[in-house]
């Protein structure tokens, strides 16, 4: 093949798969040997893995406990509220994808992603569960279609939707009314599984973000007390592992409170995670602030903006845009760090997995259960990472 192409003018070289392999994998003796060894290793690993996944593994433990893994002990009669929150989220995701990616050539990929829940529905769940899962895809697709059909009409509503999503989600999970009504309050000791992991993550992100920004601004402030407080807080918290903070919140705090007064355990964990994450976020944001050239401040002053105005309208938007990759990295880390609450006895995704492993019917199935929750962690972490990449492209972070 190479003889033929070499005799032609080398305008655009498009090697076929064989040519690519020859160039990249078998260019020299040593490389060929390495490639063969790696291929053999990969085949060996994959074969073992696939054999285990499809024949040896007993996935019954996952199917039977799916509800537990997803929502913990959330009352069965009220699970529809979680579904409602999921449908809303699916619509928002689909709609945003429709709005943002009208020009993409990879429509198939997006439709495929939106349809991916259907794959889950193929497993042996009950019929209502399958329909509910398929409904997720339908709603996401509907959102996508509406978004790409009428992008102008949906731009603002979808942004508002994202902003009010968090309070609505909290309302739906927790409920508002007394016993018996459809919006009955579900106390936090019944939140569990992926739902609790999600709650801890979202609360951690939503609250640590403003706190971290304020701490970053405080650290750069001219006022000594504000600056010293911020520096002290950031350095103190960054000097302590998260698990220590969680242990403090779960073990020490109750001893300081007066008899009979207790703070909800989940709230304690949320506060611990938020305070911890805020310190790291502050340093990331500070990095962004320091990257803004002095000329921007001076220009803002020259325009007659006050210090507050120049910070919030000129400096901060640019600084935050710069640190998006780091922030998302931190949020992914936060998402995975929430698994530490399993050590202090909460039923998050990892905690519920440990509980499932103690069921007498499923003793000794560590591999299946841990493999499944690892997959959930990976899928969600990757989704966050993918969204951040899209966001960077949309905001042109790498281009300016």
């Amino acid at each position: 093949m190479t003889e033929i192409t070499s005799s032609l003018p080398p305008l655009i070289e498009r090697p076929g798969p064989l040519g690519w392999m020859r160039r990249n994998l078998f260019s020299t003796w040593g490389n060929s040997l390495l490639s063969l060894a790696s291929a053999a290793f990969l085949i060996w690993v994959l074969k073992g893995l696939l054999a285990w996944v499809f024949s040896a593994a007993e996935w019954g433990v996952i199917l039977v406990n799916m509800r537990l893994i997803m929502v913990g002990q959330f009352p069965v009669a009220l699970v529809w509220r979680i579904w409602a929150a999921m449908y809303f989220l699916a619509f928002l995701i689909g709609n945003t994808a429709g709005l943002r990616m009208q020009k993409t050539r990879r429509k198939g990929v997006i439709v495929g992603l939106l349809l991916s829940p259907v794959v889950f529905a193929l497993f042996s769940f009950s019929l209502p569960a399958r329909l509910a899962i398929a409904g997720l895809s339908l709603i996401a697709l509907a959102g996508w279609w509406l978004g790409s059909r009428w992008p102008k009409a949906f731009r603002r509503p979808v942004l508002t939707g994202w902003i009010i999503y968090f309070p609505i989600f909290m309302l739906l999970v927790r409920g508002t009314a007394g016993e018996g009504s459809p919006m009955e309050i579900v106390t936090s000791n019944l939140w569990g599984g992926l739902l609790l992991t999600f709650m801890l993550t979202v609360v951690g992100i939503v609250f640590s973000f403003p706190l971290g920004v304020f701490l970053a601004l405080g650290r750069r402030s001219q006022l000594p007390i504000v600056r010293w407080f911020s520096v002290g807080y950031i350095e103190l918290v960054r000097g302590v592992p998260l698990i220590t903070i969680l242990f403090m919140a779960q073990l020490m705090l109750p001893l300081f409170l007066p008899q009979g007064v207790t703070i909800d355990r989940v709230i304690r964990a949320m506060v611990g995670i938020t305070l911890f994450s805020a310190a790291y976020l502050a340093e990331n944001v500070r990095g962004g602030l320091q990257a803004i050239p002095k000329g921007q401040f001076e220009a803002a002053h020259a325009l007659g903006l006050s210090g507050f105005q120049s910070m919030f309208y000129i400096i901060l938007p640019q600084a935050l845009r710069l640190v998006i990759p780091i922030l998302v990295g931190q949020f992914i880390a936060l998402f995975k760090d929430t698994s530490l609450v399993a050590i202090v006895g909460l039923f998050d995704l990892l905690g519920i997995a440990k509980t499932v492993l103690a069921q007498p019917d499923f003793l000794g199935l560590q591999r299946e259960v841990y493999a499944f929750i690892s997959l959930i962690y990976w899928v969600l972490s990757y989704a966050m990472s993918y969204i951040s990449q899209r966001l960077e492209v949309a905001l042109g972070v790498g281009e300016r």
Binding site: I163, F166, L171, R174, T187, N189, Q259, P317, A358, P360
Partner: protein, 376 residues
């Protein structure tokens, strides 16, 4: 990011902060402050003149709190098969869990009026001391130090456990002496490791410990044949043997090298609550002794003639009222949860994957250690 949206964003963040702050406060505000939760151990130095002479300050506080809350809060384990775990339907199950249900049945006549609070090993005593839970029922070993320093009282032993030894069947080992010069897998940092050293030193048996930092690794090493024996509490050995690739090829030696009496625990300072917790255990044991089960107790209500059984059922006397409960409290315990034997069989009996022979946990009539004081 235009100005309007920024303002909206700020507004929403503030609103949701407020919202979730309320969210946290509402459910936990339930225990009212005026129902004085038990005071620390201090004796009544200067008793209020209006009080009854023998009443300690915390007396009765816990029962009042629990009744006003309408719910017993019980600290349990969530990761021990047969003793405390969450089943696929999301309900807590296990021997320790059923004890909590029995207490709820005794107080409310409803075994479901209990909220289970999973607590970790390190957190359990703090949770009890701070009043976050009313009873700790989480396979906790009774020891002097725990009984005194931790500001709590062990109620009674609900499960007599002991450290045992598992060996492969074909090794032919039948007693500890047979392990002389062998290697024993043990989890480090536990009382198990210390007991092993004590007992083998006392008997002059030489061995090599192979220590691991968690139970999974310990038993994996044993399964791979890296040691001649593995040791932990017998209840743990049985559950672990069930998941070995070849359970039938392993035997648990008929030796017990430590005492591990497991039981529920309550706070110091409220003797009424202690009595209720303790006599609920006694009711379960006596129920089995009297031959009362959840199935036959209704017919026994009309046919029972023995005075003690009639007092137990609340047909005669006022035993329940003395505890501060309804007179049919013991009937409720047996009817709604079951006697000790029923509860044991449900969680650890021959039909369960976690079958553990009853051993010491038989009635004293059958050669075990379960012995309840008389109901009179």
């Amino acid at each position: 990011m235009n100005k309007k949206y920024f303002a909206l964003l700020a507004l929403v963040i503030v609103a949701s902060m407020v919202l979730s702050a309320c969210g946290g406060a509402a459910p936990t505000a339930a225990p009212p402050a005026e129902t004085s939760a038990p005071e620390p151990t201090t004796a009544p130095a200067a008793p209020a003149p209006a009080q009854v002479e023998f009443t300690a300050p915390g007396y009765g506080g816990t029962l009042t709190t629990v009744k006003e809350r309408g719910m017993l809060i019980c600290g349990v384990n969530s990761q021990v098969p047969g003793f405390g775990y969450v089943d696929a339907a999301g309900a807590f199950s296990g021997l320790d869990v059923d004890y909590c249900r029995a207490v709820a049945a005794a107080i409310f006549g409803d075994p479901e009026k209990v909220e289970f609070r999973p607590v970790t090993a390190s957190e359990r005593f703090t949770a009890l001391q701070s009043g976050e839970i009313d009873i700790l029922s989480r396979n906790t070993t009774w020891s002097l130090q725990r009984d005194t320093e931790l500001n709590g009282n062990f109620v009674h032993t609900t499960y007599y456990d002991g450290q045992g030894m598992m060996v492969p069947k074909d090794s032919g080992i039948t007693d500890l002496a047979g392990l002389d010069g062998g290697t024993i897998c043990v989890q480090t940092g536990t009382t198990t490791e210390l007991n092993l050293a004590d007992v083998f030193a006392a008997q002059g048996i030489a061995y090599t410990p192979a220590v691991f930092d968690n139970a999974d690794n310990t038993f994996a090493a044993y399964a791979e044949g890296r040691c001649d024996a593995v040791t932990t509490d017998k209840s743990g050995l049985v559950a672990r043997r069930a998941v070995l690739p070849d359970p039938e090829n392993h035997v648990i030696l008929d030796v017990t090298i430590s005492k591990e009496p497991l039981g529920p625990m309550v706070r110091h300072g409220d003797d009424q609550w202690f009595d209720i917790a303790q006599w609920t255990v006694f009711a379960m044991i006596s129920g089995e002794e009297f031959g009362l089960t959840s199935a036959n107790i209704d017919s026994m209500m009309s046919t029972a003639t023995a005075p003690e059984v009639r007092r137990f059922l609340g047909l005669e006397g006022d035993l329940g009222l003395k505890l501060g409960l309804e007179n049919n409290w013991a009937y409720n315990v047996i009817k709604l949860v079951g006697n000790y034997g029923e509860v044991y069989d449900r969680n650890l009996g021959p039909d369960t994957p976690t079958y553990i022979p009853r051993g010491l946990n038989k009635l004293y009539l059958d050669g075990g250690l379960l012995y309840a004081p008389p109901f009179r």
